[in-house]
């Protein structure tokens, strides 16, 4: 198979990845884990778009995956196209919208320490913004005097480094999840155990968690490759 076909004809795998994250999140009470990261919170929040061909279902709600509308869309043959994921890892909480077929990221909100410094202070213009019903913003920084320019550049560099480090960390987490997903998706367990569980879950029926975990762990082979849902019982 040509490289272009391996890429273009298999973009649906990205949709199945989002579907699997959604399933894992619901079965595991929003707790997932990877070998490198341990347990962390992950759930779909605020926006979920499903589609198949020209048909699409756009759901905007605090927990868009939990309603019947989303599951019904799955039962009509639609799969997730984009989803906003909330990730809570240790003290850090972040959210981002992931495009299934390109893994492009929208609206990645980073909890940076350097950006947050001094955010509690009012800045000129806040009151005007508030009265006009706008979100208070920071005024455009004036160009610092020459002797302060070096410090300002260092500050900007530190902020950039922090943002990129946090971005990289989120990407690593998603990559670890994707690797665990692929281990399942490319194994027999997918058709034998995961898809039947997905069908029951989409239909609102009870999912045999023990059998599901057994299937995911069997693929993981004890090497920690497969993500595991938490042991909490729903």
């Amino acid at each position: 198979m040509q490289l272009v076909d391996l890429i273009e004809k298999r973009r649906f795998v990205g949709r199945e990845f989002l579907l699997w994250l959604w399933l894992e999140s619901e079965l595991g009470d929003a707790t997932l884990s990877t070998a490198e990261h341990g347990s962390f919170g992950l759930w779909i929040e605020s926006k979920l778009v499903l589609s198949a061909g020209k048909e699409s279902t756009r759901i905007t709600a605090p927990m868009p995956g939990q309603g019947r509308e989303a599951k019904e869309a799955l039962r009509r043959g639609q799969l997730p196209q984009t989803a906003t994921l909330h990730i809570a890892l240790g003290e850090d909480e972040t959210s981002l919208t992931l495009e299934a077929e390109s893994f492009a990221v929208r609206g990645l909100k980073l909890k940076t320490l350097l950006d947050a410094a001094g955010d509690d202070d009012a800045v000129p213009g806040d009151l005007v913004d508030e009265m006009a019903g706008r979100k208070p913003g920071r005024p455009k920084a004036k160009r610092p005097p020459a002797d302060e320019e070096g410090d300002a550049n260092l500050d900007a560099l530190a902020r950039f480094q922090e943002r990129m480090a946090l971005t990289h960390a989120r990407e690593e987490l998603l990559a670890a999840l994707y690797r665990d997903f692929l281990a399942l998706r490319l194994a027999r367990a997918w058709d034998a155990a995961i898809v039947p569980a997905m069908r029951r879950w989409a239909a609102g029926e009870e999912v045999d968690l023990a059998a599901y975990r057994k299937a995911t762990k069997a693929r993981g082979g004890g090497d920690g490759r497969a993500a595991r849902v938490s042991s909490k019982k729903r």
Binding site: L6, I7, V13, R76, L110, F160, L186, A203
Partner: protein, 216 residues
């Protein structure tokens, strides 16, 4: 969209070419050749793109230490475009045509005359307006070989990709489920399984409607 403030929206591309030892010096020279030249009213171009400092469309001084930051190559793609409101251009053109007809004592102007007039009017209007300026950030982690384009706009992405290729001489590979899988290390069996993949569907077939009673 910016890489330095607010929430981040981006697409990822990957570099599969091994970079040469003197990459930084060569890349910096190549960048200098593609620095943004702001549009001026007297030029025929309606749109132009070039590199600027990341996060600052007006800053075109791309010193090495401002482009190469701690293992990253950071740039902004600035695009200037003349956007004359169509209604304004039409009105001014109509006025100019009327003047020209009066001057020449004719009722109609030829195609070529009209085209020339349009050019003159456009140039005059450009002198009174400012081009619209748009900037998109790009950050290339030289260590991880990942490039982040901070835009989802298709046209801006195409321009960015084109300028990137023109500057650095190779085409980065866009991220996709396959490319990420490959980087994560698909083995031979997994690659074979990938080729054989069929889409998962949870579609529930509706039961066929019951046959209508055939009584007459």
């Amino acid at each position: 969209m910016s890489a330095t403030t607010g929430s981040l929206s981006y697409q990822r591309f990957f570099v599969e070419t091994k970079l040469p030892r003197d990459f930084v010096a060569r890349a910096h020279d190549a960048i200098q050749k593609q620095v943004m030249r702001p549009l001026t009213a007297d030029e025929p171009d309606a749109e132009r793109s070039g590199w600027c400092v990341m996060g600052d469309a007006m800053d075109l001084e791309l010193d090495r230490e401002r482009v190469f930051l701690d293992g990253f190559l950071n740039l902004g793609l600035r695009t200037d475009r003349w956007a004359i409101p169509a209604a304004l251009l039409k009105t001014r053109l109509r006025e100019a045509e009327a003047r020209q007809r009066g001057k020449k004592g004719r009722e109609k102007l030829g195609k070529r005359e009209k085209a020339e007039l349009k050019e003159v009017v456009t140039r005059e209007l450009r002198k009174k307006l400012l081009p619209s300026i748009r900037v998109v950030d790009l950050s290339w982690s030289l260590e991880d070989n990942v490039i982040r384009f901070f835009t989802h706009n298709k046209k801006a992405s195409a321009v960015l990709l084109q300028l990137f290729q023109k500057t650095f001489g190779f085409e980065p590979v866009p991220e996709s489920p396959f490319t990420l899988g490959r980087r994560l290390g698909l083995d031979a069996a997994e690659l074979a399984a990938w080729e054989a993949l069929e889409p998962t569907s949870l579609l529930v077939e509706e039961p066929a409607p019951a046959a209508q009673g055939g009584g007459r």
